[in-house]
């Protein structure tokens, strides 16, 4: 055994990789609950790819056959229901894990320097994951699949000039058709998973270059022992591999309970309307995306013409504040010109286009987080009341917007979604100010 290892090691840097990323990768010793979700995300990625391959064995990407082939998997393929539910429940579980994983960064400032690239790669993963699940949702060719895809692809239509051509290019047809289904299949089972795997690999390589953050937001590399090992670090293997396995077991218990006892979770994980085949002539009575898209969907719907006045005031305030606090003359110029262009745009281009822009920005703005946050400390443990309050309000707003996205946009619901949209953007837009003036507590030298 030993000699076999040596033989391999002379030809492939097995030991080197093992040591660098596991046995001699020193992670802070104070990881808590929130640090499980990275490993769990890897687990979910593997499960989705694995169950997906087995679904592909029976599934047929053809508008005439797709719906029936999924029903066939559910009814006739031995254990087919299990594989299908694992994949559909898994998608929701994946998003729960990812949202908690991202929230951890907001708690402990993990997106801050020197981990900006870890964060950015994470965000690219997040966007790719949204594309992956969106395209996967078309494949069963249920009525919600069809109309959901119709709505999302039409978003691109709203882009001036290139929009119509772009959405035609995405569909491969003038309407959603067999051409669309077939290409979504190709992207869903081959292209995007491949990209995801590569991105996750890069995400971890980047993380291991800078080292993990921790609940105290302290750089453990700044306190090294005589042997060059961080005093507050412990080897990832065996300490965290074993700890993570416990998390995996607990997580799988929860996942299996949902999978076996409530795989559709009352329509939240698999919508009822998707158990009727796509009907080109009839939209489902209430069209709602899956829960993990609903906050952004609420923001999309909030932008009606009468909302433009509030958006104008909002960008005006942000512009004015930037104008007064910026020192650089270029920044000052941008702070004047951008709101003006936007306000003119709000009243000349269709509100529909701004809905699409708002939705896009609501996701993309996360990319800027490492630079919006100006606090001198990273972890919430040492921040003052302002950031804590802002983060608390943001989380509540995010959840409320998510709920409103599942409800018809009428009356009170519409008004709430419009208020929520402003709060959502305020969290990011005013962060440079409140994170800076917030009173912080002294950060200890070593992790606690």
């Amino acid at each position: 055994m030993q000699s076999l290892l040596e033989w391999v090691d002379a030809r492939f840097p097995l030991l080197k990789v093992w040591n660098e990323h596991l046995a001699e990768y020193y992670a802070p010793k104070n990881f808590n609950f929130w640090y499980y979700f990275g490993s769990l995300a890897i687990l979910m990625l593997v499960l989705q790819i694995f169950s997906g391959i087995f679904l592909t064995i029976h599934y047929k990407p053809d508008v005439g056959l797709a719906f029936a082939s999924v029903e066939y998997i559910m009814r006739d393929v031995p254990w087919g229901w299990f594989i299908r539910y694992l994949h559909s429940t898994g998608a929701s579980a994946f998003f729960i894990v990812i949202y908690l994983h991202m929230f951890r960064a907001l708690l402990y400032g993990s997106h801050r320097g020197p981990r900006e690239l870890v964060w950015i790669m994470g965000m690219v993963i997040f966007v790719a994951l949204m594309a992956e699940s969106f395209m996967g949702y078309l494949l069963p060719w249920g009525n919600m699949s069809y109309w959901g895809a119709q709505v999302i692809i039409n978003l691109f239509d709203a882009i001036p000039v290139i929009g119509p051509g772009l959405s035609e290019w995405i569909r491969g047809d003038f309407v959603i058709s067999d051409a669309t289904l077939n290409r979504f299949f190709a992207f869903h089972v081959a292209a995007v998973p491949l990209v995801l795997v590569i991105l996750v690999f890069m995400h971890i390589v980047a993380l291991h270059r800078v080292g993990s953050n921790n609940p105290d937001g302290i750089e453990i590399k700044e306190n090294k022992g005589a042997d060059g090992i961080p005093l507050d670090g412990i080897p990832f293997h065996p300490y965290y591999t074993v700890k993570d396995i416990v998390a995996v077991v607990v997580f799988l218990i929860v996942l299996s309970s949902v999978l076996f006892f409530a795989p559709e979770l009352g329509g939240w994980f698999l919508e009822h309307d998707n158990f009727t085949p796509a009907n080109v002539l009839q939209t489902p009575p209430e069209i709602v995306p899956l829960w993990y898209f609903t906050p952004y969907y609420s923001i999309l719907r909030a932008c009606t013409p009468d909302y433009m006045i509030y958006l104008s005031i909002f960008v005006g305030i942000v512009g004015a504040m930037t104008l007064f606090s910026a020192r650089n003359i270029m920044v000052k110029a941008v702070a004047v010109v951008t709101p003006l262009i936007l306000i003119v745009g709000f009243y000349t281009l269709e509100a529909k286009f701004w809905g699409v822009v708002a939705m896009g920005v609501s996701i993309m703005v996360f990319f800027a987080l490492p630079w919006l946050d100006r606090s001198t400390v990273k972890s919430i443990r040492y921040r003052g009341w302002m950031y804590k309050t802002a983060l608390g309000i943001f989380v509540v707003t995010f959840l409320v917007l998510g709920y409103l996205g599942t409800q018809p946009p009428e009356g009170l619901y519409k008004a709430l979604a419009q208020i929520g949209t402003l709060i959502y953007f305020a969290f990011f837009a005013f962060m440079p100010w409140y994170s800076q003036i917030d009173k912080t507590k002294p950060v200890p030298e070593r992790v606690t």
């Binding site: 119709q150 999302i152 080109v280 002539l281 719907r301 509100a351 946009p409 009428e410």
Partner: protein, 200 residues
């Protein structure tokens, strides 16, 4: 470090030139893949005209037919429905249908060749859902007692009147499109072929 007779400037020029030509070449190599995703010849050919028999369409009835993969509605409007179109100008975005959402022979408030027969593509101009038919006026439609009858899009709440004209302050920006159509006879229309001006 000795330059060993290497002309650095020239080397850099050649490297940049090679990289530049390579980039252009890669661009050309990508083109076929991008183009392969545009609608195929078969998809383009699929838009054949559709003939619809309207002889059995009673007043107040709505018929949905599929044309180019889209739902097209044919609504035989009753006199009461026609009356409901008047006096809505204040709450509509484009009451006279001046935007290019219909052929020139279908402008005005009725937006139809024969005023009572409405022909529209049943896809919301917001993001393309097919609105619900709420043809009855009044509170029964669940849209308030002053609802004059029309279409309500469940996706993001856009409203249209019985001419497919869009309300103000809803997400949809434009009236429902009127497809090109023409009368083959009194009881038969053809979707996809324009009416000759001045006929009918």
């Amino acid at each position: 470090m000795s330059t060993n007779g290497v002309d650095k400037k020239r080397r850099r020029f050649l490297v940049n030139l090679t990289a530049g030509v390579g980039a252009v070449g890669s661009g050309f190599a990508v083109a076929p893949f991008v183009m392969s995703m545009t609608p195929s010849e078969r998809a383009k050919a699929a838009g054949a005209p559709v003939e619809v028999d309207i002889s059995k369409l009673e007043p107040g009835q709505l018929l949905t037919v599929k044309w180019r993969g889209k739902p097209v509605w044919l609504l035989n409007r009753t006199p009461v429905m026609m009356d409901s179109l008047k006096g809505l100008a204040d709450i509509l975005e484009d009451p006279e249908s001046t935007d290019a959402e219909q052929p020139t022979y279908a402008k005005g408030i009725a937006r139809a060749i024969k005023p009572e027969l409405l022909v529209v593509v049943g896809l919301c101009t917001h993001l393309g859902c097919s609105p619900d038919k709420k043809l009855e006026a009044g509170a029964g439609a669940g849209l308030g007692a002053d609802w004059p009858g029309g279409f309500f899009c469940p996706c993001h709440g856009s409203k249209f009147d019985l001419s497919g004209r869009v309300y103000k302050n809803v997400p949809a920006p434009r009236n429902l499109p009127v497809p090109p159509y023409s009368f083959k006879s009194d009881t038969e229309i053809v979707l996809g072929i324009d009416q000759k001006e001045g006929v009918a």
